[in-house]
Structure formats: C-alpha cells, structure tokens
C-alpha cells in the first residue's frame, strides 16, 4: 500500500491506506480524528462533513487518496488559537444539540456557508444545510444559531469572544421568547 499524504488541520500525515478507503475512515480509524462521524456511508446524512479547500464535502464518499495534498479541515481544526469558532460558541450558548451526533457535521456545513456568505438568508441556510440530517430534529435551533453567529461575526465577534467556555447557560432570552415558563 503506497502512503498517502494528507494535509489535515494544517498538519501533514502520511498514512498507509488502501486506494479506495474513504477519507472518513482514514480520519477516524487511522488518524484517530473521531469528531467526523459515520452516519450512512452514501452521502445522504452529512454527519461526515469536512472541508476540502474550504468546500464542504462528505468524507464517506471521497477516497482519501483523491484528496492527498489538499487542505482538509475537520471539526478538530475549526477552533483557532484555542478559541472556538463563533458557530461553536453559539451552538453551546443556544443549546442546539440533543444527542449531538449530527452536530459536528452541521457545524462544518454552516462554517462553509458563513465563509462564502456572511449574512445568509433563510433560503441560503436551506440550500446549504439540506444535506445534513438531524435525527433529533434540532433544525429550528440550527437555523437560529447560524443567524446569531452571522450577526456576531458581522460585529467583529472574532476579536471580542471570551476564551473559556464551561457549559454556560443557554440563551435564556431566546428560550423565554419561545416558551412561556408559567401560564
């Protein structure tokens, strides 16, 4: 098996994998990057989404050998300089996840969207996020979170973000808006 050199999260890894092994399994089983998830294996669920040269790709259907030398970013590489990506921060604050299994793929798709469109409309979100299934039905919060992150990013959020995140309270105002606590 010839070695394949993969550029993942800014680091080069030479891995011995069969020519046809999808990037997903090279990441998970060979490199131990398990934040990228296996859901369907046929490009239908989006759990395995990574960026290849900034574009969202389903890693379960691209052979690792086909993306040798290209710039691959996984969820493990989304934070920069120890600071969470704005989407990750909002995801925590707005308590988007339920089981959480789809969420790394959701965030990778959303991050690619914000990279090319800083203020996406609902229709833009629909178009960019339709390939990411959420079995738990967190779509409402995913949409809200993308809008919130887009607003903050526009306001220079990258520089103002606090560093430490220890399970902070959900956005209570947002929750209160949707749920009457006492009627």
């Amino acid at each position: 098996m010839p070695g394949v050199t993969l550029d993942v999260n800014g680091k080069k890894h030479t891995v011995d994998v069969p020519q046809d092994m999808p990037l997903l399994w090279a990441l998970r089983d060979v490199m131990g990057l398990t934040g990228t998830k296996f859901g369907c294996g046929i490009g239908q669920c989006g759990a395995c989404t990574v960026h290849v040269n900034g574009q969202p790709m389903r890693s379960c259907v691209i052979p690792a050998s086909a993306v040798a030398g290209q710039k691959i970013t996984t969820i493990e590489g989304l934070a920069s300089n120890g600071e969470l990506h704005p989407l990750q921060q909002v995801w925590i604050e707005q308590d988007v996840a339920q089981c959480g299994y789809c969420q790394t793929g959701q965030i990778m798709s959303a991050a690619a969207l914000l990279n090319r469109n800083a203020t996406p409309s609902d229709a833009d979100i629909d178009a960019a996020m339709s390939g990411n299934y959420c079995r738990c039905g967190t779509y409402i919060r995913i949409r809200e979170a993308i809008h919130t992150a887009a607003q903050r990013t526009g306001a220079g959020f990258y520089n103002a973000a606090p560093a430490a995140h220890k399970a902070p309270a959900a956005d209570e105002a947002a929750a209160a808006e949707q749920a009457e606590h006492q009627v």
Partner: protein, 748 residues
Amino acid sequence: MSGVNLEDVLQALRQQSGGISRRGFLKLTGVAGGGLLLAARMPALAEEGPSLVGSVELNAFVSIAEDGTITIYSATPEMGQGIKTSLPMIVAEEMGASWDDVRVLQTEEVNTEIYGEQWTGGSYTLNREWNIMRRLGASAREMFLAAGAIAMELPRSELKAEDSRVYHIHSDASRSFAELAALAYRQPVPDPDTLVFKGRQEYRIIGTAKSQVDSNQIVTGTADFGIDTRVDGMLYGVYEKCPAVYGRVVSANIDEVKREPGIVDAWIIKGNDNPRELLDGVGIVGTSTWAVFQARNKLVIEWDESSASKDSWTDFKQFAESLEARVGSEVLVSRGDVDAVLKDDRHRIVESFYEFPYVSHLCLEPMNCTAHFKPGVNGAKDHLEVWLPTQMGPRFQAMAKDRYGLEADQVTIHIKRMGGSFGRRTSNEYACEAIELSMRAGRPVKVTWSREDNMKYDFFRAGGFQQIRAALDESGKVAGWEEHAIGVEQDGKQAIGSGFRTGAFPLASFPVVRGSHTLVPKKTLLGPWRAPWSNTHAFVTQGFIHELAVAAGRDHLELLLEMLGEPRWLEEGNIRAMNTGRAADVIRLAAEKAGWGREMPPGSGLGLSFYFCHAAHVAEVAEVSVDTNRKLTLHRVTAAVDVGPIVNMSGALSQVQGAIIDGYSTMVGQKITMENGRIQQTNMDQYPVLRIPAAPAVDVHFIQSDNEPTGLGEPALPPLAPAVANAIYAATGERVRKMPLSELGFTV
C-alpha cells in the same frame, strides 16, 4: 481505561475522597426503587479529618474540590433526552450550588446498589429520580449548613445555602462551600426523612434554561459516543446476519474472506436464536472499519431459512383490508352496550379504516459496541470490559451473568453517550456480537453496524391497521365508540407498539366503548419506538374524533372537550394517570395560542389534536397550507404541554421541538416494508427523512402544574400526525387516514 476492572474504577472514585477506602453507608429510605445509598462516605472522623487533597465526597453523587468545583455524577444514560443535565440541576438546586461551579461526570460503572436504577426510557427517568436527586442535594446542603454553623459560630437556623456559599441571613457573614468542604465532610449524614426540600418559589436553577453539560464536547467533536471508542490493540469488526431474521448459517467462504486486505480473522458463529442476544452470523475482524465493510461484500453465505421470517407487508395489508369482522378476535375493553348504540336507528354511524407503516429508529449513530474479553489465567477470573451505548446498563449486566456466567465484579461497563436511541438501544445483540468477536480474536474489538445493518436489523415500530367507528346521536354527541386494531402477535402476545393500550383516551374513559384486536403472528423484529402504541393510536383516534366533528357539523374543539367529560383522574390515586381537567387545560391553551377558529386563507387550515401518554398531557395545533401540486407546508405547530414543573427549560423545549419534527418526518415519508422476510429499504436514499427547509416553527406553552415533574422524550410526538392530518382536511377537504403522506402524493 483498557484493562481496568470494576475494583479499579471503584478505587478511582474513592480516591476523590482523599484515598480513604473505608466508608460508611446509610440507606436512603422511602424512595421508590429503594436501596440507593445517600451517603457513601467515611464515618465522622476525628479532629483533623481528611486533609483536603483534591476533593471530598459528600455522597455517592456529589463531591467538592479545593477550588470550589462541585462534581455531580450522572448515573443514567444520556441519549439526547437531556437527563445528564436535568438531574444534576435538581441536585445543585437543593444543594444551594451555583450552576457555574458544577461539572457533571458520567459514572464509569453500573452499580445499582449505589446509583439506583441506571436505565432510561419511557419518559420516566426524571420522575423516578426526582425525589432521589432532591435528597442527594438536600443532604449535601445540610452538611454545608452544619459546617457553616460551626465555622461561623452561628445558629444553624440563621443560615442559608445559595450560590455555593453559606450565608448568615442577619449579617454579611458567609463562607464558601470550598472553605467549608473539609468540615462539611465530617458532619453526620442527615437522616433522609428529616430533609426538607425547597419550595418552587425558591428555585434558582430548576425552571431555568441551561445548555447541555456536554455542549462543549459535542461541538468540538470530543463527546464520548460509543462509536468513537479507541482501545489499545483494538480490531474493528462486523457481523453479517441472514437477510431474513432467524435464518441460520450453513456455510460461508471464510477462507476467501480472510485473504481480503486488512482482514485479521473471520468465523462462522452460531447464535441462540434470540435476536436480543445472538443470531447466527459471520464475524469478520480487521484493521479498519472500511476493511471489514469491504470484506463482507465478498462473503458468500449459505443460509438455512427454514425458520426465518417470511413476512410480507403486501400480505398483511391484504389480510387487514379484506377482514370482514368488525370486532376483533380478542375484546380488551368493553363498557356499556355498544352493539345497541350502533344499531339504534336514530344514530348516525361513522366508520373509518386507518393504516400506518412499520418505521425504523434510524438513530444517526449506528449500533456499536467495543468489547474486551480477558480470559482468567492462573486462577484469576475471566473479565469483560465493554464500552456500550445503551439505555439499559443493568439489563446488560443481567445478560452477562445469564449468558456468559460473569458476575458483576467480572464486568466493567462504560455507559457511553448515545447518538440517538428512541427506544432502540434497549437490547444486547450488538454488545453480544462484539463480545463474541473479542473472545475469538483475543483482543478488544469494536463492532460497528453499517447503515444497512441498522435498517435491516432494527426493532421496528409495528405497522398496522385499525377499524374505528362511532355512533352520533341526534344532537351530535358521541353515543358509542368502537376500535378494532389489526396488529401483530409476537412471542404469543400482542407485540410491543402494536394496536393500542386500554388505558388510552377515549377507551379508558368513555361510558360506551369496545376495544378489540385481531393479531397476526409476524417475525419481523419489533421494539419500543418513541411513544410505542401512542405514536400510531393517536393518529387513528384523534383523526377520527375530527371526522366525527365534521360529520356532526360541530366545532372540533367543542366536541373534543365534551368527550373528556367532567374534570377527574381516570384512575383515582394514580398521579401518572390521565386527568381530564389537565387535558382540557392543554387543549384550550393550544387552541387559544394558535388562534383556533380564525379565518384561514384558501388552501390553508388548522388541525387540532390531543394525546395523553407517559403521564404527560399534550395538545397540538398544526397550521398547514397545500398548493395545487399537493405541496404541503407545515407552517407552525403550537403545543401546550403539562408535565408538571419544568426542570431545564431549554431541554424541555428541545424535546418538544424535536418530537414534533420527528413526528412530521415520520409521517411525511417514512415506511419500511418487507417481502419474503427481507426488509426492502436498505439505506437513507430509500427512506426519506425531513430536512431543514421543511421544519415548521414550533411554539411551546408549558402549564407548570403542581404535579410531579415527568419526562418529555416521547409525549409530544403522538399528537403531531393527527394534528397535521386534521389541518390537511381543513385546508383541502381531503381526509388523511394513511401514513406516510408521500404515498398520497404529497410532497414537502
């Protein structure tokens, strides 16, 4: 953690209390499920007490570190239902802790003696644990107050605990929990019966919205899902079973498969014909998931299908549709003279036939388990360590004893976070497959099911049919009600989730009713699927009540409220039973908030429904529009929910939003069929799921009644389908009596 046995894990836990191994135990009395140890700690020590190295443990669930970090253990499995956050919130509340100081850890063992029942399901966990968590928190709080009284030389009665401090209510004096920890540890553990809980008006944590304690791990890809387990020396495994359940393996081209790249070994494995343990199959282990997935494609297996499933959906449907009888072979509930009411000339009889398909759990994280079986050598006992995403830790423990003869001290179980479950991860077969492969390979093995395995070998929600009829009297009141379910028999009885349960409204309450079923034996595996029975029975009954309202020319809301009758508990003394007054309250509230009765534009409509299950009263109003191409849009669902007080407002809201979207996803496009015992849908391309563009807005209104809180994982799902069906009727005049909607030509 490879190679750590139960005793090592216990030791590690004990070390948090300063390395002290001798602990006194005090039984927590008066709690359902009993036997939980409120205090697993040292008896009161002499003067100096433990030096505060690291942290001290105030009871089995609560410890505090020098820096003030409060660790609360979560002993019940987390699958997205939020229990790992909500139960510790209850403990922190009663303790007087600040939530910011709390970190939550999953217990690394199954030990029901210490941690209680340690399973989750039936939307019941919150209710089961409510008083236990309050006692654990209140006990720790009392120990801090006692310590504060000593440290500040003030009367205990003048102190209160709040924000992780003990305050003097008449002065500025206060001490932090961290400062008091060593002293608190030396206080006697209070008698559980003397503990007093906070009143609701005093709550500072319960009822607020908190982000899941694992949010950070989830968004960074480091949450502890079972499928992410990596253990030194681990191999990857698959287990191929017969395409028709219960098929037995005769032979296979094992030698050929062993020569495939990355394959380490392969075996024909005989099972015990128990699909919840081990069916016959071929196991393959190799160096990556991909290697074993590829090698399995090369398998040529001869199966003996003489006792395998021959189930056919087409046959089942033909049988149900051609059934002449209007009363089933077994009558389950009967009150009043239904026959007389149905024959009465003055009455108008309305009759319908409903159909709903089998559906799959489709948990996004595939079934998986990592197992490491270590045979005992030199007189040592065998040991099994598993990393297992399961709702049922104790059920696994019992299986390990029955099937493998392993006592609790020979088994280490790491309960992993589940990437969804919905009732799926309650059986042991994926664990048994990993154990069998580890035993043969002599190494740890992670078995991962492909999506196709998950579709083929689900324990499905039962598909079925129902006849339903009722008599309307001259004033448009319902005079009699009859249901006949055509469902599935399995293991000689009504299969789980098939037909109805007699406690359901209106069977349980209406004065003139009959409920019966006709069961057909089927082998296709069935199991609990989010609100079993209720998720189909609501569709039938709540759709039919709307049919009656239309037939009688009456307002649906008015008729539904009338059918509830006077406010009362349907089972006196059972607080988990339905209360018709609580039902009426949620129905009225959902209707009011949705603007029931308002003028709707052409092609759009509102649909109402109500269902009671899992001690929860839920009403929903769906607002839909349908265009000329039968494109359906679900604009908004307004839900009113009474599950008692809400613990985590964010989590509760998530569960209702999620259940509604799940209910809609299922209703719109999902259907599993089988022919000659073979499941015909193999992956998500043949089993459409709802995507973000079709997700409705969801408004949720909680009635926080004084009833005990209960869980919300399931009960918001059943009312969704009938609410949408009724709204489609309001919008188009077309009655929906069949799911999925895609078969009726609707798209979303």
